[in-house]
């Protein structure tokens, strides 16, 4: 792969290796967001709302 490239080569070939790295970074970024959004889009387990409801009742009693 393009790991062993010296600066001269890079200059001669333009910014191709840099673009390649950027492309890969962007792809990782897209997947990262997908991974996060996947959980965001999961239905919230009932437990969460139950806890809040109980907390709310306690407040109401006061």
């Amino acid at each position: 792969m393009m790991i062993e490239q010296n600066p001269m080569d890079e200059r001669r070939k333009g910014s191709a290796p840099l673009d390649e790295t950027r492309l890969r970074q962007r792809a990782i970024g897209v997947k990262l967001r997908q991974m996060f959004d996947e959980v965001v889009n999961e239905p919230v387990p009932d437990e969460f709302l139950d806890i809040l409801r109980k907390a709310d009742d306690k407040t109401g009693d006061r």
Binding site: R24, Q25, A27, L32, D37, F48, L52, A55
Partner: protein
């Protein structure tokens, strides 16, 4: 605008204020779960953490100023809870191991989408600070300044953590250097590239 809002909020009864707070908090639950999942790397542990953070936020609601950034505020609570749990837990190493085993079992599922799990494993190899910075900025939709507030560090620190995390992730995926046997080097990166292309084409 903010001043008008403050006045309006000031005129509210505690009851009304609590109702608004709760409505906003409910909207944030999916985001808290996602953040917790990336911090712990384990769905069960993550939901425990997110619930604890939600209770903490509710108990501290009086100290929150309505109209300010509640997402950042709750993320900060969750993050602090994560680190204090980690410090307190004597069984942490064991738990980490169990969580890793569960993750690996999930990865063995032939139906599981490969690249996503490899990214998950690679993420788990990052130091906590780098992982949280990358998630906040790269997926959570926070500006560097907000992420710095959440993590209680300087903006420059967040920037360098994000950049180091990106570089490390790239390196891990490129080398296929995650904790998993089988799967040749470069496969993960190839499938991530293919998936990302498919995803952006679908948009």
């Amino acid at each position: 605008m903010a001043a008008v809002q403050d006045e309006r909020h000031a005129a509210m009864t505690d009851r009304e204020r609590d109702a608004i707070f709760q409505r906003e908090l409910v909207k944030l639950i999916p985001h808290l779960r996602a953040f917790a999942r990336t911090l712990t790397g384990d769905a069960t542990q993550a939901d425990d953490l997110a619930q604890d953070a939600m209770i903490k936020a509710w108990d501290a609601r009086k100290s929150f100023q309505l109209g300010t950034n509640m997402k950042a505020w709750t993320f900060m609570i969750l993050r602090n809870q994560f680190y204090s749990d980690k410090r307190r837990s004597w069984r942490q190493i064991q738990l980490d191991q169990e969580a890793a085993e569960r993750t690996l079992v999930a990865v063995d599922d032939p139906e599981a989408p490969v690249a996503l799990d490899e990214l998950r494993l690679a993420m788990a190899m990052l130091p906590d600070e780098q992982r949280e910075a990358l998630i906040l900025v790269g997926a959570g939709g926070f500006a560097y300044e907000e992420a710095a507030d959440i993590c209680g560090c300087a903006v420059g620190t967040v920037k360098s953590r994000v950049s180091r995390a990106r570089k490390a992730l790239h390196g891990i995926l490129e080398a296929g250097d995650y904790d998993r046997d089988g799967g040749s080097a470069g496969d993960a990166m190839r499938s991530i590239l293919a998936d990302a292309e498919r995803l952006s084409a679908a948009r």
